[in-house]
């Protein structure tokens, strides 16, 4: 099997619109939450979210395309462009991949939901009209969840495998694993992977509110996402994208690329339990981590940093910590654990993608981003766990693992490690 290395990353989040800005946000422990501006949320139980701010897609995307596409595919293109640029894989025109055979390059891109806002808008136009169906011809291509992969493939002329993975909030983890498999098995030399999500909309906020999944701390949005705090009351919806360029070690070396980190291993599992609640004992999550370690050929004590799913929901946070303790045993106390969702909010299908970027940055810069907004201890949480509360920790990070779990009981765990010959 080929070794899989990372040669480029991209990030677009509520705490930074580029990798350097995201890194600065993670280090300083900044919250990306604020009042919702994408729609009038006055009548909703939750009136805040982690929106991407001051973002001009046309700095990387043609004006005309920017008009035609949904926000989620624009975010996909934007972060993929940053990652490909970092990888040194863009041709002179900036629109075509170079230094790789296009038939050996592909894109597996995640979105949990797709272009929900485009669908919502068109239904409203129809319902508010005279009954004549005047659906925009771009509604379907804007809405379908595979179009992140489609647009990235089209823009850069990637002619290898391209498709989307959909497993709710684990989508990004499954995309990364599938893309890495293509390189491991020699089907491709370069794969662009990641995920994007942009559903801060009436339907999503209303729907998640009805599930009682979202925080309703409207009087203080910046402290609402507080994983592991005794008073956590649900997740904060985020939007954005994360991109990772995967490449076979051989290909990266042959073209003299800068290698940022290596994929250690990964695994997926299922709770087989409930549509939205996690298994109370973390049975599925535990197996994802154990099998990812096995796939990476690593021991639990090798792991320096655990980036949790940690969405700030009362049940989910403790179930995951149980699973982590089962998977890691005593070695868990040697690792730093944190939930970067405390800063970025929960990006659903893109969560694993921006959290992969956080793990890669942790290895590259030797620090552990914090779990911000910790105010009071939850008596059900083991005090000995190093949950990296409120401030980033400087430490050498050679191995990081990222967990993501989706509605439907889909689990994924991915291990990133420092590259060495």
């Amino acid at each position: 099997m080929n070794r899989v290395v990372i040669t480029g990353i991209g990030a677009l989040t509520a705490i930074g619109n580029s990798v350097p800005e995201y890194l600065e946000g993670l280090r300083s422990g900044r919250s990306g939450a604020g009042p919702i501006t994408h729609f009038d949320a006055e009548n909703f139980k939750t009136r805040f979210a982690c929106e991407v701010k001051d973002w001009d897609p046309t700095t990387r995307i043609d004006k005309r395309e920017a008009r035609r596409q949904d926000r989620y595919t624009l975010m996909a293109l934007f972060s993929a462009d940053e990652a490909l640029q970092m990888a040194g894989l863009l041709g002179e025109d900036g629109n075509t991949i170079s230094a790789v055979d296009p038939d050996r390059a592909g894109c597996i891109w995640a979105s949990g939901i797709g272009g929900l806002r485009s669908l919502e808008e068109q239904i409203e136009i129809y319902e508010g009209g005279d009954g004549t169906p005047r659906y925009n011809p771009f509604m379907i291509p804007r809405m379908i969840a595979n179009m992140g992969a489609g647009h990235i493939s089209m823009r850069y002329n990637l002619r290898g495998p391209s498709y989307a993975t959909v497993s709710a909030c684990a989508s990004g983890g499954h995309a990364l694993a599938a893309a890495a498999d293509d390189i491991r098995l020699g089907r491709a030399d370069v794969m662009v992977t990641g995920g994007s999500e942009a559903v801060i909309s009436k339907v999503a906020i209303g729907g998640f509110n009805s599930m009682k999944a979202l925080s309703t701390r409207n009087d203080d949005p910046a402290t609402a996402s507080r994983p592991y705090d005794a008073d956590r009351d649900g997740f904060v919806l985020g939007e954005g994208a994360g991109a990772i360029v995967l490449e076979s070690l051989e290909h990266a070396k042959a073209r003299g690329a800068t290698i940022i980190a290596e994929i250690g291993g990964y695994a997926a599992s299922s709770d087989a339990y409930h549509i939205s609640a996690p298994h109370p004992e973390g049975a599925g999550a535990k197996m994802a981590m154990i099998n990812a370690l096995k796939d990476a050929g690593l021991q639990a004590e090798d792991v320096d940093y655990i980036n949790t799913h940690g969405t700030s929901t009362p049940i989910g946070d403790t179930a995951e910590l149980k699973a982590i303790k089962l998977a890691f045993g005593e070695a868990v106390y040697g690792a730093n654990i944190s939930s970067t969702k405390s800063m970025t909010g929960h990006l659903l299908g893109a969560a694993a993608a921006i959290e992969a970027v956080a793990c890669i940055l942790a290895i590259q810069h030797n620090f552990v981003p914090p779990t911000i907004n910790h105010f009071s201890k939850d008596p059900d949480i083991d005090e000995k766990l190093q949950l990296t509360f409120n401030e980033a920790v400087e430490r050498r990070v050679d191995v990081a693992i990222s967990n993501t779990f989706g509605f439907g009981g889909h689990n994924s765990a991915t291990i990133f490690k420092r590259y060495s010959e």
């Binding site: 043609d62 004006k63 005309r64 008009r67 004549t132 005047r134 925009n136 011809p137 771009f138 291509p141």
Partner: protein, 79 residues
């Protein structure tokens, strides 16, 4: 008030993201202004909305250039 011609040109500029100078009467949506078949459908729907009319499919098929759109709309829209 803007004339039909001005309104049509503005819609084309907005939807196709082209320069106003390119939107001449002879310009073909698909051959000169970079539109694909979906863009053309969207343009027709925008004309219908702007001028509050309904353009039958068989008429829409004959609207391929800026000039054809202006001529059709000038003859069908109540002034």
């Amino acid at each position: 008030m803007a004339s039909i011609e001005e309104k049509v040109k503005q819609i084309i500029v907005d939807k196709l993201g082209v320069d106003e100078s390119e939107v001449t009467r002879d310009a073909s949506f698909q051959n000169d202004l970079g539109a694909d078949s979906l863009d053309t459908v969207e343009l027709i729907m925008e004309f219908e909305k702007e001028f509050d009319i309904s353009i039958p499919d068989e008429q829409a098929e004959n609207i391929q250039t800026v000039g054809q759109a202006i001529t059709y709309l000038e003859s069908s829209v109540d002034k």
